[in-house]
Amino acid sequence: MTFLGFVATLLALALLNVFLFLLGLYTTEGMILYHAVLLAVVSIICVCEITIFSHRFRTILKTLGAINQVSTDSQIRRIVWITLTGNLFFVTRATLELAFCLTLVFYWHQTGTVARPFTHLWWDLYTGLKYASELTIMALMLYILQSRFHAAASAAATAVQQHSSVAGARPSTATTASRPSLSGPAYTRIPDVDVVVV
């Protein structure tokens, strides 16, 4: 399934939530509960998938870097950071959402209603942690990717300069100059070793 497929599925589930609310099947509390359950499940799935794919990606990068004799340390470090921060965020989020769900369910079990389950202290804590973790993860993502895009921008600028200096003569020189030179025998050139690790 592609990225758009996953997002469309999530969007459809969210729209179903709004639709069920508008049908009057549950209250706004029910809508928040549905949302919390959905996000808790997605968070747990994301933790598993990020861990698995990160491990695979690092293994492949290490292997191909060794074969082509190019350094993939910066990419691997970036993957490790993204994995670490992503997993921390999703674990926090899943814990918060599950705590929210359990509180709501226990309150409903005890009182038979969900009219007023949260105190200001509880809700402030929940809101603060939830959105502070979101803010932290986004700031960290921007920070982690800063070095990569600085490098890309400087490489692009260098490429443009070289391209303009040899304009028309050898158009392919500018593109190959920015790539790391391979030293030593490489059995097969793996073109995607220096990939953009988002």
């Binding site: 592609t2 990225f3 999530l10 969007l11 969210a14 609310f21 508008l22 049908l23 009057g24 209250t27 706004t28 509390e29 809508m31 949302h35 968070s43 994301c46 990020i50 794919f53 695979r56 990606f57 492949i60 292997t63 191909l64 993204i82 992503g86 209603t113 969900v114 009219a115 007023r116 949260f118 105190t119 200001h120 809700w123 402030d124 959105y131 979101e134 803010l135 993860i137 986004m138 700031a139 921007l142 990717l145 890309a152 921008a153 490489a155 692009a156 490429a159 443009v160 593109t175 920015s178 790539r179 059995y187 097969t188 793996i190 073109p191 995607d192 070793v193 953009v196 690790v197 988002v198």
Partner: protein, 281 residues
């Protein structure tokens, strides 16, 4: 009956003269005519406290601007103070200063994140034609999508935090309200608030889904290249083995031929011997 504060209740902004005066008139009308009689029953004391805090803010602001209309306000404040028998915030119908300051701080932080993401996105869009030759277009699209999702999340969150919480719903803590409930018109604000929160969460989770899908695609690509490499290795191994087999078979054939030749010579001699034996006998 929790939603006694109307959805369009004015949000106090200290420092603006004309709206404050209008709000004062509105509050006087609201509390003296309709609202007070309901609040005396004690159904929503938190709303009373919210109104009281608004009046206090209005009075403070007006005094700072040297208005001379403090008499009706103090009367109104006394009236409201007599009505508010319980000032506890546990009613869930008010907004604490901590919540309001937390909203402002988080809203500004999300706004800054949105600005940074927008700046990065514009940089990426400007740099992508130059680096199009060195990096494939798909990667530039992924990077742009990545920053767009961060921007969308930040904008939605900043919108949700910086719009005063009173505009969304009558209480900061969630309230159970059914849709299309005419007695509780605040369901519209609550639903819109929840839709904005859901949209922000979806776009935030989409960032990681994008990373996962991108990683999966790259793993597939790199594995494909790796298998291609393995295929070359496999062909080489196969060739070596074939050569080995061929050499072995050639040597085996020559050995067999030698053996057969020797056997033939031996049998010829034997026959000769037999013939000699027969002739002798």
């Amino acid at each position: 009956m929790r939603n006694q504060v109307p959805l369009g209740m004015p949000y106090v902004r200290i420092g603006t003269i004309q709206p404050l005066y209008l709000y004062t008139v509105h509050l006087q009308q609201y509390c003296i005519t309709g609202g007070c009689s309901r609040r005396r029953t004690g159904e929503s004391k938190g709303a009373t406290m919210a109104v009281e805090s608004m009046v206090s803010s209005v009075q403070t602001s007006m005094q700072s601007w040297s208005f001379s209309s403090s008499l009706p306000l103090s009367r109104l404040q006394r009236q409201l103070a007599s009505m508010s028998t319980d000032n506890s915030l546990e009613n869930g119908l008010s907004f604490t200063p901590l919540e309001q300051s937390m909203d402002i701080v988080l809203g500004i932080a999300f706004l800054i994140t949105a600005l940074v993401a927008a700046r990065r996105m514009s940089t990426t869009l400007q740099a992508s034609p130059a680096s199009a030759a060195s990096s494939p277009g798909a990667e530039a699209a992924v990077v742009t999508a990545f920053y767009s999702l961060i921007l969308l999340t930040s904008v939605l969150r900043a919108l949700w935090f910086l719009v005063p919480a009173q505009w969304w719903q009558p209480s900061y803590t969630p309230a159970a309200v059914y849709a299309w409930d005419s007695t509780q018109p605040s369901w519209i604000g609550t639903a819109i608030s929840e839709i904005i929160v859901t949209g922000g969460s979806l776009s935030l989770f989409s960032i990681f889904i994008l990373i996962l899908v991108y990683w999966a695609g790259k793993c597939h690509c790199l594995l494909f290249a790796y298998f291609r490499l393995c295929k070359v290795c496999l062909l080489a191994c196969l060739l070596v083995r074939l050569v080995g087999i061929a050499i072995t078979s050639v040597s085996l054939t020559s050995s067999i031929a030698t053996l057969l030749c020797s056997l033939q010579i031996f049998s010829k001699n034997t026959f000769t011997l037999d013939r000699d034996v027969v002739s002798l006998s």
